[in-house]
């Protein structure tokens, strides 16, 4: 249409003015995107981290095991549950775990230990346990030549008991049937270091732990990794309906303290974002208003030679939208790599920070449609909003006065 062509040419006719306006808009856009990314982000990496580290996206327990763990709150016949999960398309992988607070003994010392029995193969695919091994190798579920099961122990235990690879480890706990659970294991690997979160943990093959605790064919926890991060709540709800006899929780519930802290922090960020947006608004106001009103004289001339006021107002609005759109597009191109870096690498914290029980090691931003789209719509919105009354005003000016302005 003629109007568009005209608007387009007008933009390039006043190169400097358009350029300046555009620069302001681009600048405002990039900075907003960055601020949004910073306030939205930061947590995604932490979430990904603990989800993959041990929490998973969803966890299944019996009753309120999560809040009040008791050995008898166990999930029976886990194979049945595994079959259901294996067939579920949205599930990437899952693992089975058994827990027991115990005491670990060596010949001369003893120390408290959290015993975790895991399905070794599944665990490998669902958590980062295999990557945490600092000595020895990821164990297998078989008995060794002497009839012992292997165990992977935290560095704190290795240190407190003064034992290492190949040594005997004695575990004592209370069985599910009330008996004293006691057995000997062979240390096959050491996990982490003395400051790791699992420094007092002993990992056993699932079967070994079930025997140890007289808990045949049952587990305490099923941890699930989904293919799509964002669907945790949805899928948890769906699974819960399917499995009414168990308790299915998304990670937001499993790590509730972290989630709460995160939400609150985000809420606080809304305030800051509000401030940023306000400044951007003023900037756009400044820019757009000026670029329209500066041309009052020009418009006066146009009206004098016969342009209809309505058409004029429209043209102004169209020009503004076009210019803003071009600016925003350029803004997207400029900010994309920046945000990409920010979300992947981010600023490394000198020391990991504990947020509600979860460790974060980097300050990162969020890469998402939201981060790019919201500032885009905001700026476009502002621009249009401002250009309409300004355009109308400009259009309504009498040509005589317009041409006389400055």
């Amino acid at each position: 249409m003629l109007l568009f062509k005209l608007a387009f040419r007008n933009i390039f006719r006043q190169r400097r003015r358009s350029l300046l306006t555009a620069m302001s808009l681009i600048g405002g856009y990039v900075l907003s995107v960055f601020s949004f990314s910073m306030s939205e982000g930061s947590y995604n990496n932490a979430i990904t981290f603990f989800v993959q580290d041990h929490t998973g996206h969803i966890q299944i327990h019996k009753e309120d095991y999560l809040q009040r763990p008791k050995i008898h709150k166990s999930i029976p016949r886990p194979d049945e549950l595994s079959a259901i999960l294996d067939a579920n398309e949205r599930v990437a992988s899952h693992t089975l775990r058994v827990f027991a607070p115990s005491i670990a003994y060596s010949d001369t010392d003893n120390t408290p230990a959290q015993v975790i029995g895991v399905d070794l193969a599944r665990e490998r695919a669902t958590s980062t346990l295999a990557a945490k091994i600092s000595a020895g190798a990821y164990i297998g579920p078989e008995l060794d030549g002497e009839g012992y099961y292997s165990a992977m122990i935290g560095a704190g235990i290795a240190n407190n008991l003064n034992i290492g690879l190949g040594d005997e480890l004695i575990l004592i706990s209370q069985g599910a049937d009330g008996s004293i659970a006691n057995d000997i294991y062979r240390v096959g690997a050491i996990v982490g270091d003395r400051s790791s979160a699992d420094r007092s943990t002993v990992y056993l093959p699932l079967v070994a732990s079930q025997e140890f605790l007289s808990l045949p064919d049952a587990v305490h926890e099923v941890s699930i990794l989904l293919k799509d991060d964002g669907l945790a709540r949805e899928e948890a709800a769906r699974l819960q309906e399917l499995l009414p006899e168990f308790t299915v929780d998304p990670w937001q519930v499993v790590e509730a303290t972290f989630y709460q802290s995160m939400q609150t922090d985000k809420q606080g960020n809304v305030v800051f974002l509000g401030i940023i947006i306000f400044i951007v608004f003023v900037g756009v106001l400044n820019t757009v208003l000026m670029s329209v009103l500066e041309r009052t004289r020009e418009f006066g001339v146009l009206k004098a030679i016969g342009s209809r006021p309505a058409k004029l107002a429209l043209m102004i609005t169209v020009e503004t939208i076009m210019l803003t759109s071009i600016s925003v597009l350029i803004g997207v191109m400029l900010s994309a790599p920046l945000i990409l870096w920010f979300s992947l690498a981010g600023f490394a914290l000198p020391e990991p920070m504990d947020v509600g029980g979860v460790l974060m090691s980097h300050l990162t931003g969020e890469l998402s449609l939201y981060v790019f789209a919201v500032p885009m719509f905001l700026i476009l919105g502002f621009a249009i909003l401002i250009s309409i009354p300004a355009g109308i005003r400009a259009a309504l000016n009498s040509p005589k006065e317009a041409m006389r302005s400055h």
Partner: protein, 407 residues
């Protein structure tokens, strides 16, 4: 100066534009002031939470004690340490503590916990235990008093006056020791860990149960007359106390994650500041250019009649300066107003827990002189710097082009 007064008057030739620009810059300054105030308030809250709740501003232990809280690693020269602490002028208060893990049993249930034996009086000047009492009374030094966390009280199903048996190991010989106490008060700190796992009793009773003499202590918590500065937290007293056997650390060293949070908040302030200033600068450049354009004919004329380029740039720069000054004025006023409001009414942020510190109280923003000195100076500087490009452009206008300029 003629240029100056000319510059000033020029501002009002297009009041609307000037107002818009002033708004942009002014609001940026306001935002920065408000943000800074809130950050400071948050840090104060955090520091207060850490040092005031239980930790104190510094602590003295036997070396290696902190790794496992081994009851056998006690300090056994209380008289000597305490006299040194008494005499030190930089110290306002100190409190000795005897600490042990124990099984805490009621008629109903048993729970593992950490028992602190404290000196009721001295402790008041260091920690908030007495303020956390929600039922019953704070310790008064009487024999069988016990304060337990509210969540623990729920787990053990006990109320005031109910009996509690503590089971623990004596120091040095590890022998079984038990003590009968009565719940004399229930405390609520609002921190999960404390409310679920901690119990407080009088230090004399704790020592007796553990088989410790009155010369033996696990920990001293200290408070200084002037709170340790965050940037330079050294203390002569702590340096003196540190030797091969004793370790005296300030709260920053005891909680290294906190210094991290402080750094992050400094980063955030910087980043927000940068963002705001960049936005403002763009606005300034835009604005100055606009104003130059509309006067381009005029500049052409005055250059043609011999005005020096330097004078034209000076003019533009002065205009920028005045805009900056007015903006600062506005920004400061608004910033002060908002700051005044938030520093008295506070901002409730909801519940957050970082590194075991709960931030569920309202944050009161704080004023600080740099908000009204440094920040405005930056603003003025940045505005003027932003105006350099437009100024040079104006200076370089070629009269003939300018005079031909159509719109």
């Amino acid at each position: 100066m003629q240029t100056a007064s000319l510059a000033f008057r020029n501002l009002f030739r297009n009041t609307r534009r000037t107002v818009l620009t002033v708004m942009l810059i002014g609001f940026s300054l306001t935002a920065l002031i408000v943000f800074d105030g809130i950050m400071r308030g948050m840090i104060t809250l955090m520091v207060d939470n850490i040092t005031g709740t239980l930790t104190g501003e510094a602590q003295i232990h036997r070396v290696d004690y902190r790794e496992n809280l081994d009851v056998d690693l006690y300090l056994d020269n209380a008289a000597q340490i305490e006299s040194q602490l008494q005499q030190d002028a930089s110290l306002q208060a100190f409190a000795p503590r005897v600490i042990s893990g124990a099984m805490i049993s009621s008629s109903y249930n048993v729970s593992a916990g950490l028992v602190y034996g404290v000196d009721a009086q001295l402790e008041k000047s260091i920690s908030k235990i007495s303020e956390a009492v929600v039922e019953g009374a704070y310790l008064s030094g009487e024999e069988s008093e016990l304060l337990i966390g509210i969540s623990m009280a729920e787990l053990l199903e006990v109320g005031l006056g109910d009996r509690i048996v503590l089971t623990l190991s004596e120091v040095d010989n590890g022998e079984l020791a038990q003590a009968l106490l009565r719940v004399s008060g229930i405390v609520e700190f609002g921190l999960r860990e404390l409310d679920e796992n901690f119990a407080f009793t009088n230090i004399a009773a704790a020592r007796r149960t553990l088989g410790m003499t009155d010369q033996q202590t696990h920990e001293y918590a200290l408070r200084f007359v002037t709170p340790l500065s965050l940037t330079d937290s050294s203390s002569a007293l702590l340096d003196e106390l540190n030797n091969g056997e004793i370790e005296a650390l300030n709260w920053l060293e005891l909680n290294p994650e906190i210094s991290l949070i402080l750094e992050i908040s400094r980063y955030s302030s910087l980043m927000i500041g940068a963002v705001l200033f960049l936005l403002a600068s763009l606005g300034v450049i835009n604005s100055m250019f606009m104003s130059i354009y509309e006067r381009i004919y005029e500049f052409g004329v005055i250059k043609a009649i011999g005005t020096r380029p330097g004078d034209i740039s000076k003019l533009i720069l002065f205009e920028a300066l005045f805009i900056a000054l007015i903006s600062c004025g506005m920004g400061i006023l608004l910033g002060a107003a908002i700051g005044a409001y938030t520093s008295t009414s506070g901002i409730a942020f909801g519940e957050m827990e970082f590194s075991g510190i709960s931030l569920n109280n309202a944050i009161f923003s704080e004023f600080h002189i740099i908000q009204f000195t440094q920040f405005p100076i930056y603003v003025v500087l940045l505005t003027v710097i932003a105006a350099i490009y437009p100024a040079r452009f104006a200076a370089k206008i070629i009269p003939s082009d300018a005079l031909h300029k159509s719109l």
